[in-house]
Point group: none
Chain length 143, copies 4
């Protein structure tokens, strides 16, 4: 199980959105990337604003960029803003350093990809990201 | 009334500029975008400086990007500067996160577009944006 | 039916991929955008190469940019290459001007969005795009 | 009369669109820039596709960039494509080198601005641009 397949990614998206429905969250956008930082599946709910695909992708990419969830990047943005800014410089501005980007790992610790969620509070976004990961029996790293 | 037409956008521009005349404001630029963040109408008054079209557009786009008026972005720029900087990264620098970008909604809450105003203080810019929205019987969301 | 919803977009993706399976095509990536050129749903099949999300999106965006399917852009790239190059200049390089980007319209001719497909020949990509549109009872404009 | 005012620009936009209505053209977008290449007024008709503001602006800017209408650029794109490509390089991709961008001059030959029109054939776009210029008693240079 060394690859994150489209089937797995679609299950993750559905589970993340189901969690959001359970919690009564605002409209979300969910992006799932493979280990190379390339989109596998994306869904934007009705009413989720127009830059949400880029934000969800930016969270997933940020997690992969540093090898840990974007909660770590959010903390660093407060303590070492110059580092996070410079990281986004070398990344071409592709990273959104707030919670809600979660690294997806196998039980053995192999990085298989990442999921990024946006639309509600960053904490709630992250809860949905973890629900997506749990639905395929993998392990989330929030940072 | 599910679309923001050119006729509506031109009425919004005229009403915003009429409000500015009433208040004796500095020369303004007004941009009206549809729900997808694409210009429908723009007017730059004589004496309004050369980057004002981009600033007015950047306010309107910022409102649409996050699904709320740019007053919200201005507040976030103070509390979470790394988020607003990163948002502009994924948006290609197209967002101006200060008040004066107001989301345009139907009475039922559907996002129809946004209006961005620049040239005077952000508060006064926003007053003119709201006057534009009122002139077409729609609802403004300042953030 | 004035909006392209997530539910409709997911149906379009599934139908396009089902058509590809029927025809025995190579692994595809499918992107569905709303009328404003913003992603609603995207799926990349296992084995579809890493830039396919950008290519599928670039086809969908190209159709929306000009208001007709990308077959029109492909023809213009041959007869007026300077126009297509310049169009991509003002579009920030976001357009892929080959067949496989199909505009999605209502029966009444309103533009609701676009679907872009990539992975097999452009002609086969377009066949799958049309299958996606047919599955939601809308009308495709190939250009 | 050394400046192109907002009032003049709005008259030019209205006259260009009135000409299009007379001729039964497709939905247009019209952009009017001052002598510095900065937008003064823009209008996108209902049904004019989403990149049209950039295309109309790119025609107006192209006319100002070279000091003559974009018909000249279109001809050069065929005979000296490397020049037009390099021009767009130094212009940051802001130029659309096809007919429909017309320089606006005073009777004495002073450049006051430019008007760009897009949406129908380039020849028809140019006819509407010239109608806009005629409406304010100025002189058009098509290139």
């Amino acid at each position: 199980m060394s690859k994150l397949t489209l089937s797995m990614a679609q299950t993750m998206v559905s589970a993340a959105l189901a969690k959001a429905a359970d919690l009564g969250l605002k409209p979300l956008t969910v992006a799932v990337m493979d280990a190379g930082g390339h989109l596998v599946a994306l869904a934007r709910q009705d009413g989720s604003s127009i830059m949400r695909p880029q934000i969800a992708s930016g969270k997933a990419f940020g997690a992969l960029a540093m090898g840990t969830g974007t909660r770590w990047l959010n903390a660093n943005a407060e303590t070492r803003p110059h580092f996070v800014q410079a990281l986004n410089g070398v990344a071409g501005g592709a990273i959104v350093p707030v919670a809600g980007g979660v690294l997806v790992k196998s039980a053995g610790g192999e990085v298989l990809g990442a999921i990024g969620v946006t639309g509600d509070s960053s904490d709630n976004d992250e809860i949905c990201a973890l629900a997506g990961i749990a639905a395929v029996g993998l392990v989330g790293d929030c940072g």
